[in-house]
């Protein structure tokens, strides 16, 4: 599983949409994660009920024909910007 930063992931997503024009499908999945990817070492108290601002969202993209995958973790504050870029990419990719 290849973990990218947000911009790298969006680049990969664009490439996947281009590659899937003739055949195959692109799958995008989003799920919220309650903890940061680089969790502190054991011994630190577990997170209490999640503060909404700290939530991160895992976004994965898979190209059906080649099984190539890309993923990124988006923090809550970056989410708005990420969603704008994502919407633009999907609009460009989905209709043309």
């Amino acid at each position: 599983m290849v973990l990218h930063d947000a911009d790298g992931f969006l680049t990969q997503l664009t490439r996947m949409l281009e590659r899937s024009r003739e055949k195959g499908a692109v799958y995008v999945t989003m799920k919220r994660c309650a903890f940061a990817p680089a969790a502190p070492a054991a011994g630190v108290a577990r997170l209490s009920p999640v503060d909404p601002a700290d939530c991160r969202c895992l976004v994965r993209a898979v190209l059906g024909s080649t099984k190539a995958t890309a993923s990124t973790m988006v923090a809550a504050k970056d989410h708005r910007r990420f969603m704008k870029s994502y919407a633009n990419i999907m609009k460009a990719g989905a209709t043309a």
Binding site: S20, R21, A25, V26, Y27, K31, C57, M83, A87, M90
Partner: protein
């Protein structure tokens, strides 16, 4: 298997997410060859699916995307 009406799908998806934010995931499958988009929202107990090939639904899909912030 598929929900026919967008508004129902949207309302149910929103409810599912608000009830189980940590367990709900949202999948999207796009096939350019068929021009179809398949949306799935599930919390591993309940699964809602919607499929479309209409461009006008792109705007609605964006709205749905914004819930998952």
């Amino acid at each position: 298997v598929y929900i026919e009406d967008w508004d129902t799908f949207y309302a149910e998806a929103e409810k599912l997410y608000l009830d189980h934010p940590a367990h709900t995931r949202y999948s999207l499958k796009y096939r350019h060859t068929d021009g179809k988009v398949l949306l799935k929202v599930t919390n591993d107990r309940v699964c809602l699916q919607y499929q479309t090939d209409q461009q006008q639904d792109l705007k609605r899909i964006e709205k749905l995307n914004n819930i998952f912030i």
